[in-house]
């Protein structure tokens, strides 16, 4: 089993690392403090091909695989988890389902602008009373002539404010749970869709998280993504890819904490010696490094399976679960190593710590992931959300 990266993967990784170091790191703290959407950086990222990484070249994408995506996400997150999630959602939660389930016309219409940065995407699944129990969502979709009409309220939508293209999941069939759902491609310019409340968050503050309100929103029939009643299947399959992206985000955050802590403990002296001389410090760094290594390899494995077209629900859940808990552990430990400096905004540690928390929550809370994994182990069939 070859765990080496190919020459192209190494070049991709080096390119994005360079880009992130030069263009994201210098502004990451300010973007977080001002909770400002990084439009210039996203435009630059689009020029580099980062917004449509896995979109086929014929639609203006980079035509890359999931391993490449994971490498890119980790490098972006190391610099700013907020910037990274904007890119990750666009790629994994919006472009990817269009590539997999879209008609030729839908791909032709939506993929090029999503890939080149003219448009930004968002994924509207969660509702106030359907978070972990997402398949119980209540937004309705009713046929009316040549259109679908959507009514409901989506919430905690990443990129909600800036997105022009929204994948909205709504109940179109007279059936409960996943089987009653369909997915729709909704442009912000369609009548009846608007941005509602914008959230102020603990972390990933430069990415917007908002409500999307659907009030008699008319969507042309050809904007149904996939078949009627396939929405649940699409949502869950899409989440597998999304979870791999978040696992990579968590690895990037954990790595940021480890790298900064490693540099710091060599310089910082207490009781006349560098912090790195103390065994407790050495062990903390060793623990962080081993956990990050494990999380990264789990993430690569999930990506590798996805590239083979194999089912990777279990592996994606495992990767995200371990990676997010690693990010929490590592950033928490790193803040502690920095002591007072870990608590003040002059240093990025407190931002890594705040950013890490979301990785245990979105795109499947750790509890939901445990549910998915235990059902897989205990042989329970059917929908994990039922």
């Amino acid at each position: 089993m070859n765990t080496d990266l190919s020459e192209d993967h190494r070049l991709i990784q080096a390119t994005v690392r360079d880009f992130a170091a030069k263009e994201i790191v210098p502004v990451a703290a300010r973007l977080d403090q001002e909770a400002r959407y990084p439009s210039e950086i996203i435009a630059r990222a689009a020029t580099l091909g980062l917004m449509g990484l896995m979109v086929p070249e014929e639609y203006g994408g980079a035509g890359m695989d999931s391993i490449a995506n994971v490498l890119v996400q980790e490098e972006l997150a190391r610099a700013s988890a907020g910037v990274q999630v904007i890119v990750s959602v666009n790629n994994s939660l919006v472009c990817d389902p269009i590539v997999r389930y879209g008609t030729a016309e839908q791909k032709r219409r939506y993929l090029p602008p999503l890939a080149d940065g003219r448009s930004l995407g968002c994924y509207c699944l969660t509702e106030p009373s359907a978070g972990s129990d997402a398949m119980a969502l209540e937004t309705r979709a009713q046929r009316r002539g040549d259109d679908w009409v959507l009514d409901g309220r989506k919430f905690f939508v990443t990129n909600g404010v800036e997105a022009d293209i929204c994948i909205v999941y709504a109940r179109s069939e007279d059936a409960p749970g996943a089987r009653g759902l369909s997915a729709f491609l909704v442009e912000k310019s369609f009548p009846g869709i608007s941005v509602g409340k914008v959230e102020h968050k603990l972390g990933i503050r430069c990415s917007s998280t908002s409500e999307i309100l659907l009030d008699d929103c008319r969507v042309p029939a050809e904007n149904l993504l996939g078949g009627r009643g396939e929405g649940g299947k699409i949502a869950l399959a899409t989440l597998d890819g999304g979870r791999i992206g978040i696992a990579a985000q968590a690895v990037g955050l954990a790595r940021a904490a480890l790298e900064d802590a490693t540099a710091y403990v060599k310089e910082r002296h207490i009781f006349g010696r560098p912090l790195s001389n103390f065994q407790a410090t050495q062990w903390a760094l060793a623990d962080a490094a081993t956990r990050i290594d494990a999380a990264r390899l789990l993430t690569y494995r999930a990506a590798w399976l996805r590239d083979r077209g194999a089912r990777c629900t279990r592996e994606a859940a495992t990767a995200k679960l371990i990676a997010s808990e690693t990010a929490m552990w590592a950033t928490h430990r790193a803040v502690q190593l920095f002591g007072g400096y870990g608590y003040i905004q002059d240093y990025p540690l407190e931002r890594y710590f705040r950013d890490a928390k979301i990785t245990e929550i979105y795109e499947g809370t750790s509890e939901v992931l445990r549910l998915v994994l235990s059902r897989d182990l205990l042989g329970s069939r059917g929908n994990a959300h039922q």
Binding site: D8, L11, T15, L48, G49, A68
Partner: protein, 261 residues
């Protein structure tokens, strides 16, 4: 306009260097990258192509692993890449490298040859100007600005001298070595990386270049040793919370130790 860019693969300037007991440096785990100045050279060539059309060819002398640097240039947008690879070039000195490059370039008749002003492994800054001599091309080294009047067949360049700026007119074809301030190199775009994957990197040895061992000549300069520089240790540290006391310490230091006051 046909432009040839000469590049070199070097250790990442941020990488720690481990000197090997038997000579040379330990390459295990060493991050090797395209020489920073050569990114600027490649960028300059790509901009000329955008302005005037033509092709950008990248060439490097080095071992097999040099392909990665050539691949990066292709990913930035270069049209073709060639590696000059021969055991006789492994321990070549700068003039030998220049002779090998000259043999390749002569077969191409470019309008411009562009190199980085130096490579960050040895900072020698020899190959560029030596290559210009071997190709009998006019040269301008360490240029900070490049404007081409292809119709008139010349370039106007700026060079930074010590305390002055020199503006030179150079007829084409010519060789340029470039400063960092010349341009901002583009990142290889990810689609560019995917396209570069499909491009073939040609490999030529001395025989294929038509260069005999005699023509390559013996090495004139040989690196015979590498040592770690004597360390500097930290001196006195003063708490500057009281600025007047700190200033006094500095003034005393400048007068008594450094003897500049």
């Amino acid at each position: 306009m046909n432009v040839i860019v000469c590049i070199k693969q070097v250790p990442d300037t941020e990488a720690p260097i481990r000197i090997r007991a038997g000579g040379g440096i330990d390459e295990t785990g060493l991050n090797l990258v395209m020489n920073y100045y050569d990114e600027h050279a490649t960028e300059a060539a790509l901009r000329l192509r955008e302005q005037f059309g033509g092709t950008v060819t990248v060439v490097a002398v080095g071992p097999e692993r040099t392909r990665e640097a050539l691949r990066q240039a292709l990913a930035m947008g270069a049209d073709e890449a060639t590696l000059l690879r021969d055991p006789a070039l492994d321990a070549a000195d700068h003039l030998q490298v220049a002779r090998a490059l000259a043999a390749f370039i002569r077969s191409r008749t470019p309008d411009a040859v562009i190199c980085g002003k130096l490579s960050t492994d040895d900072n020698a800054a020899v190959v560029g100007a030596a290559l210009a001599e071997l190709l009998d091309l006019p040269q301008a080294t360490a240029i900070a600005k490049l404007e081409l009047d292809a119709g008139a067949g010349h370039a106007t360049v700026h060079r930074e001298l010590e305390g002055a700026l020199e503006i030179l007119e150079v007829p084409l074809p010519a060789l340029f070595t470039v400063e960092r301030s010349l341009n901002e190199p583009r990142y290889p775009s990810l689609p560019g990386i995917m396209k570069a994957k499909r491009k073939e990197i040609a490999v030529l040895d001395l025989a294929a270049l038509g260069l005999s061992a005699n023509e390559l000549g013996p090495a004139g300069a040989t690196l015979t040793g590498l040592a770690t520089p004597p360390g500097r240790t930290a001196g006195i540290q003063v708490n500057g919370a009281d600025p007047d006391a700190a200033v006094e310490a500095i003034v005393t230091f400048l007068g008594d130790r450094a003897k500049v006051l």
